[in-house]
Assembly symmetry: C2
Homo-oligomer: 157 residues x 2
């Protein structure tokens, strides 16, 4: 068995996966991005049991990715809206969508609303104003690991 | 129980998660990006059993994300190198790393090798040459879903 948590991994990627790495979590967020708000609509799209979806939505509320808002008083009914924290996953979700294009043509495309051009996820250098692929990036120790770790190319080939 | 596959989801994000959504897969790829090549080095960093790591590496080779290369003949030993297909996950991995920064300061930062500036994952419009956040994006039917689906804002708020 794999360990059931990534807690032993002192790594910013592992920390994100602690929150969004559970099965279906990113698909629930995908639907929230697409405007799905209500329990029954999430369930119809995801085809999961009510019990599982209830738990998953509650976890996303606890983790600050969805907020629960009452839209009807009698009977009391709630909807789920993505928070700013969820919207920060936009490059992750778009990057995953794009990555599958060699597997099959996408059912859905994402475009810049202002001009209709298809958008894409990229890594950017704000100083040089260019896209930076993995071969042109390097890694170094960050503020959470204040050692004299050397500054080297990211990919040792 | 949740279904064990996302196959019923006609969605480019679900298709990517079929390949990289398994626990630890993205952490193995993270290490491959950082230059880890050999079985024992992966195991030391990930603290998983040899049996599990063997299966996970074999799946990544089958899926075309790692390639296996012999580096020693007697005894025969192999190392694992990320493919171009794996490198295409660079914005996904960087976006996940960045997303955890409000949780804890990162142990590692990624920079543009040419200038040392910290890079970031973003969604880009190549026509307008700007970053496009979720509130300024729209979605529409793509080539895999050739209906007259309407062109609307991504977020129905």
């Amino acid at each position: 068995m794999l360990p059931s948590s990534y807690a032993g991994q002192a790594c910013p990627i592992a920390r994100s996966l602690e929150v969004v790495g559970e099965r279906w979590t990113l698909l629930i967020l995908r639907d929230a991005f697409l405007g799905v708000r209500r329990f029954d609509d999430f369930q119809a799209r995801l085809e999961v049991s009510r019990a599982v979806l209830t738990r998953r939505l509650a976890a996303l509320v606890d983790d600050g990715l969805l907020r629960r808002e009452r839209y009807q008083a009698r009977p009391e009914r709630f909807e789920y809206l993505p928070t700013e924290r969820a919207l920060d996953l936009w490059p992750t979700i778009l990057s995953l969508a794009r990555w599958s294009e060699p597997i099959a043509p996408p059912e859905r495309e994402f475009v810049h609303e202002a001009c209709g051009t298809i958008v894409y996820a990229a890594v950017r250098c704000p100083h040089c104003d260019v896209d930076v692929d993995a071969a042109h990036a390097a890694s170094r120790g960050g503020p959470g690991y204040p050692t004299d770790e050397s500054f080297g190319p990211l990919l040792v080939s």
